[in-house]
């Protein structure tokens, strides 16, 4: 089932295209890694796909009403914002808002979704903690849990593992690939090529606003493409847990 389709999506800042005629589809069961250098247009692509940026072309999500879109896709913005000193559980519960009719309070289904999201991110013991008093990485996990509580078929996450410790990076990527195995889909932008190779079923490589490569991790993370797009040489070794990729030098 196709959960997102972009057709010739283009975003311009003045004359300069930041996202340049990108077409792609995301299907249920996929964990898609969005990779590319800083300024490649990853964030803009995600935001435009959701209708948060003016664009030309077409996005299946942006054409939905705000309420329909909120039940079709959850978004985890790059900037981690928690404006008020609210309890972790209260924040995660906000993820249920798109499913609650006006004036109603969360029911059993909502509470189950909140519990599940907290559990997946290892936040069971954090329910009553004040989110703004947690560390940056812990706040990041709270916000991921909020997006999971939305229980949408599709999750778009913009650099969700930046600033997390290694264990939490792996755990978070496992949560995402787990969602894909359950039949949902995740599009996650990230800079760790090794984690992308091991946890994503498909990679999309962007460079200067254009989609340069789209396919299985082995087909995208080639020495040639890495040299051409990132300007790096890369060391690669296969391990029992999947491929290990390490950028070695700037070309």
């Amino acid at each position: 089932m196709t959960l997102l389709s972009l057709d010739n999506l283009t975003v311009r800042r003045g004359e300069c295209p930041v996202v340049d005629h990108v077409s792609l589809s995301v299907h249920a069961g996929e964990c898609v890694g969005l990779i590319g250098p800083n300024g490649a247009g990853k964030t803009t692509l995600l935001r435009a796909a959701l209708g948060l940026e003016p664009f030309s072309g077409a996005s299946s999500l942006a054409s939905l009403s705000a309420a329909e879109r909120a039940r079709a896709a959850a978004f985890l913005p790059q900037a981690r914002q928690i404006a008020w000193p609210m309890a972790v559980e209260t924040l995660v519960a906000l993820g249920r808002v798109p499913h609650l009719p006006r004036g109603s309070t969360p029911g059993a289904v909502d509470r189950a979704a909140i519990d599940d999201a907290l559990h997946r991110l290892g936040l069971d013991g954090f329910r009553q903690r004040i989110a703004t008093q947690l560390s940056g990485g812990e706040q990041g996990r709270v916000l991921i849990a909020r997006a999971l509580a939305q229980q949408t078929p599709l999750l778009l996450a913009d650099e969700p593992i930046a600033g997390l410790d290694p264990a939490q990076q792996i755990a978070t990527m496992q949560v995402f690939s787990g969602l894909a195995q359950e039949g949902r889909a995740v599009v996650v932008s990230l800079h760790d090529l090794g984690l992308a190779a091991r946890h994503c079923t498909r990679l999309i490589l962007m460079h200067q606003g254009r989609l340069v490569a789209d396919g299985a991790p082995d087909d995208v993370l080639t020495a040639d493409l890495m040299a051409q797009v990132f300007g790096i040489s890369i060391w690669r070794q296969d391990s029992p847990l999947g491929p290990v990729l390490q950028p070695m030098g700037v070309l």
Binding site: A66, F75, Q81, A83, W84, P85, T90, L94
Partner: protein, 326 residues
């Protein structure tokens, strides 16, 4: 729930005290008889025409200002935000000052409130024009600061060109903000606008909760951010415009009340709306009681007292949050 009961109880007690307090020297029995049974002509007049509208206006003005402050802080995600910040109070005051100075206020009793409402609405329109359909919170604040500065400059110009010192002093006194010498006429003229404002602002609870996560996250959680901004600005214009029209400029209620009550509602912006409306009403009633008790003979202005309490509080808030302000 407990907080609401506590606030309501405080409000009822303060309302009763407000009705019982005044220079007429009526006993408790006199006031109750006059208020409910209409016994005693002079006492009935004092109670029904002076004290009762004053107390009711205190509740209305306080609720409007407290609610506006809570909505504004929730929307801008900034504990320093205040309705005056987006220039609505300043523009409402400018409208009022113009009719006071031109003598229109004396010629037609509706002119003063109508001009204040007009000023508030003009500020709102200008804000929407400047902040644009996709304007961020920062754009809104900056537009508000510019409009406040413009309204302040125009008010000063009107005072500067004042034909005589008496007219100027009348304006200056009015701008200090007060609930004394108000009648039910003031209640009826402000109430419809305030009710519209209350309904609009109280409808924003859930969107304001979600906006805790930022505008991008909120927009992808079903919140129509443009509609929320429109409802908020119109609601604040109705509340603050009507409040300024009948009571002059009373500042800081919208700053102090939400800040004090936030910890009691788990910092949830939706819960803070109701709490701040009740808390604002209680605070204005308490302050209006205080101006009558501290200097009964000198007509101490409510707005002056609020500023004396509020400004140091504002400094304290800036000092506390200075590390987070960038």
């Amino acid at each position: 729930m407990l907080l609401r009961i506590w606030l309501l109880t405080t409000l009822v007690i303060l309302f009763a005290l407000s009705v019982l307090t005044g220079p007429a020297g009526l006993t408790l029995v006199d006031t109750v008889r006059a208020l409910f049974l209409g016994q005693g002509e002079a006492a009935t007049l004092v109670m029904r025409e002076i004290r009762l509208p004053r107390a009711i206006l205190g509740v209305m003005v306080g609720a409007s200002l407290g609610l506006s402050g809570a909505a504004m802080q929730g929307y801008l995600r900034n504990p320093l935000a205040e309705p005056g910040l987006i220039g609505v109070s300043g523009s409402a005051a400018l409208g009022a000052v113009i009719v006071l100075q031109t003598g229109l206020a004396a010629a037609w009793w509706l002119a003063l409130p109508m001009a204040a409402l007009g000023g508030a609405l003009a500020a709102v329109m200008l804000i929407l024009l400047l902040a644009g359909p996709r304007g961020s919170s920062l754009t809104l604040i900056l537009a508000g600061i510019a409009i406040s500065a413009l309204a302040g400059a125009m008010t000063t110009l009107v005072l500067n060109l004042s034909p005589n010192p008496f007219a100027a002093s009348e304006v200056v006194f009015w701008m200090m903000g007060s609930l004394s010498d108000r009648s039910f006429d003031h209640v009826w003229i402000a109430l419809p606008f305030m009710i519209i404002g209350w309904v609009l602002l109280l409808s924003l609870g859930r969107p304001l909760d979600v906006l805790t996560l930022g505008e991008d996250a909120a927009a992808t959680m079903g919140v129509e951010t443009r509609r929320v901004r429109m409802v908020m600005v119109l609601g604040i214009a109705a509340c603050v415009g009507a409040a300024t029209a009948v009571a002059g400029a009373i500042g800081f209620v919208g700053l102090v009340v939400p800040h004090v009550l936030r910890p009691f509602v788990g910092a949830r912006p939706s819960a803070l709306l109701w709490a701040s409306a009740l808390g604002g009403a209680a605070m204005v009633l308490a302050a209006d009681l205080a101006v009558r008790l501290i200097l009964p003979d000198r007509d101490l202005k409510l707005g002056v007292l609020m500023a004396i309490i509020g400004a140091p509080f504002f400094l304290h808030l800036i000092y506390k949050t200075r590390g987070e302000l960038r």
